[in-house]
């Protein structure tokens, strides 16, 4: 999917992050390429969510640069969609209204068109039509994730960031969600950056995986390549998978 002589869509260079004296990232660098699905893995608390938020501009890094390279210059808000770790759907609004929030914010979109678009996004993410008029608390965990994705897609973003999209879903639900992400990438040419702990997801959907450890991205490569990597953390991480895969055969 990606050849590395292409210019990256987003490049992170020399990123330092600290909260008080607590150092999260130190001289971290990472490239994200057009049209790829990039997985981000790392122990819990290694700053995966923080890295996403810095890329989104929600947290200002202590030092370092995050550059967007785009043919049309700077990316604006509507070209990035985000699915937060806990969904972050507006609890007082129905799914339909949640999806329409960015459209309303932009203004000038006719009501019936907004309804059609919301129905479209709801169908794209595989929610049943009735979900449109439900509030997030009336949905199951898996449906909330889908609703969150529908909202993230509402303005046709070019890049989507997903923070642990399959965490808390049952394996079947997780597999369906993975298929959905693959399908969206293939149909819409999305660039997808997903933080995940789910090894099955990594194997199924990602083109490359960035491994966060020791405050840096210690490797960013395809899973096949990472399996050959000798770094102790990476070996420990992929060791379980290899043995499980051999069991399956």
């Amino acid at each position: 999917m990606t050849d590395n002589n292409q210019t990256p869509l987003i490049s992170v260079r020399g990123l330092h992050t600290r909260f008080g004296s607590h150092v999260i990232h130190e001289n971290l660098s990472l490239d994200i390429y057009q049209g790829e699905i990039l997985g981000i893995v790392g122990g819990s608390g290694t700053g995966k969510s923080v890295l996403l938020k810095e890329t989104l501009g929600l947290i200002t890094p202590y030092k370092g640069e995050i550059t967007f390279h785009n043919d049309q210059g700077q990316l604006d808000k509507t070209s990035i969609g985000v699915l937060f770790q806990d969904g972050a759907l507006f609890s007082a609004l129905t799914v339909r209204q949640n999806i329409q929030v960015p459209m309303r914010e932009m203004g000038g979109v006719a009501m019936d068109l907004m309804d059609d678009l919301a129905a479209l996004k709801i169908e794209i993410v595989g929610l049943p039509p009735e979900a449109a008029h439900k509030t997030p608390s009336q949905l199951s965990g898996g449906m909330r994730k889908r609703a969150g994705l529908a909202r993230a897609l509402s303005m046709d973003p070019k890049i989507v960031f997903l923070d642990e999209p399959t965490a808390g879903l049952d394996p079947m639900g997780a597999a369906e969600f993975d298929d959905l992400i693959l399908q969206l990438r293939n149909d819409l040419g999305l660039t997808v950056v997903m933080v995940t702990h789910d090894l099955d997801s990594l194997y199924r959907v990602t083109d490359r995986v960035a491994v966060l450890a020791e405050n840096q991205v210690i490797a960013a490569d395809s899973v096949e390549e990472l399996e050959k990597n000798n770094h102790p953390w990476i070996r420990a991480y992929f060791h379980g998978v290899r043995s499980r895969q051999s069991e399956e055969r």
């Binding site: 609890s91 007082a92 339909r96 459209m103 932009m106 000038g108 979109v109 006719a110 068109l113 309804d115 059609d116 678009l117 919301a118 129905a119 479209l120 169908e123 794209i124 039509p129 009735e130 449109a132 008029h133 509030t135 997030p136 608390s137 009336q138 303005m155 046709d156 149909d187 819409l188 040419g189």
Partner: protein
């Protein structure tokens, strides 16, 4: 204009250009709908000048095409680039259904229905509150049988939070109300030459009613709401469910310490409120009526009997129970979302103040009947 129209004998060519996105979609839909068409007409949408479109534009185009086709026109797309073709195919694949319509009822009926639903809700809420009280009493009796199982640490923490930390605000408010009663009372009583009765007015109303009522309202607003918010957010976080699975009874852990703390602290707070109210009144009487503290105390002794004091203090634990039950019950009712937390917190405060005042009226009738 987003569309250029070229008309020849039987072919209409609609030209589009540029990078189109959701911001243009509404205008585009209007322009397309305004194009006059005849049945059997041939329409071609020419996209050779289009750089990119998004799903909103694709949706608008597809919908208008179907509309024309259903009117018997022949519509075709011409020279759209790969991106535009892909997204139109994608939208086509996924526009199987519309938004299900919301049910709209005639307004008269829906108003009546709303009233009915609201009434039912209120009644249900009160029956549930009564059931909850039963549950609490049951757990309390069990706890009294095994006093070692009473949770002392949270009880002490609540005593501090509900009682000690409320002293400033309770004192300030009752002090000011005491001052106001004397001020206003003196103004009117002086007109009939009965200004000496100002002290009677102050001491009887403060001891019997105002001291405890003001305390109850402040505690409901301060601690009742806190109970709902604390228990409610635990409910949202599934902490209550977790407790149950770990063999802890949430009533024992969360509700009993709070209600017991209120029962213990309310009489003390009410006593303190009485004192501060009388102090405020006495100071005002001294300054504005030139009733010296000694004269005030003499008049006070003549005006009230100790029963006036007991009447006020006796109500305190009952009001405390009411506030505690209502606050904890509403907290337990929180489900689903942060919005519900706000709703139940509001309801807990309104409900406990309402119940306190109803109960106060009931007490007044009982005391009148008993001639106290």
């Amino acid at each position: 204009m987003l569309i250029s129209i070229e008309q020849s004998s039987e072919l209409t060519t609609l030209g589009m250009s540029g990078s189109l996105s959701i911001g243009d979609a509404t205008a585009l839909a209007k322009e397309l709908a305004a194009i006059p068409v005849k049945p059997k007409q041939y329409l071609v949408i020419d996209g050779h000048g289009v750089a990119s479109i998004d799903s909103a534009i694709a949706l608008v185009l597809k919908k208008q095409m179907y509309r024309w086709q259903s009117q018997g026109c022949h519509v075709a797309l011409k020279s759209f680039n790969q991106q535009a073709t892909d997204i139109m195919a994608f939208v086509d694949k996924h526009s199987q259904y519309r938004m299900p319509p919301k049910v709209v009822r005639p307004s008269m009926i829906s108003v009546l229905e709303d009233i009915g639903v609201a009434t039912e809700k209120i009644i249900k809420n009160f029956t549930h509150l009564i059931a909850f009280s039963g549950l609490v009493v049951e757990r309390l009796l069990l706890a009294l049988r095994h006093p070692s199982r009473l949770r002392v640490t949270p009880l002490v923490a609540q005593l501090d939070q509900i009682g000690f930390r409320a002293l400033a605000i309770v004192g300030l408010i009752t002090f000011l109300i005491g001052a106001v009663i004397v001020n206003q009372g003196a103004f009117y009583l002086r007109q009939v030459g009965a200004d000496v009765f100002t002290v009677d007015l102050l001491s009887i109303t403060m001891l019997r009613e105002f001291g405890i009522l003001l305390t109850a309202v402040i505690v409901a607003g301060r601690s009742g709401s806190a109970f709902t918010a604390q228990i409610g957010s635990m409910q949202l976080n599934e902490e209550i469910d977790a407790m149950k699975t770990l063999g802890m009874n949430p009533i024992d852990v969360l509700v009993l310490p709070r209600i017991l703390a209120l029962v213990l602290i309310m009489p003390l707070l009410a006593f303190y409120a009485d004192l501060m109210g009388l102090l405020g009144g006495a100071l005002t009487a001294w300054v504005t009526l030139e009733v010296s503290p000694v004269a005030f105390i003499q008049r006070f002794e003549e005006a009230v009997t100790v029963s006036s004091f007991y009447v006020g203090i006796l109500k305190a634990p009952f009001f405390g129970i009411m506030i505690g039950l209502s606050g904890c019950y509403e907290g337990m009712c929180v489900r689903g979302s942060a919005e519900k937390l706000g709703f139940h917190t509001t309801r807990s405060v309104v409900q406990s103040i309402f119940l306190v005042i109803v109960m106060d009226a009931a007490f007044a009738m009982i005391f009148t009947a008993l001639d106290i």
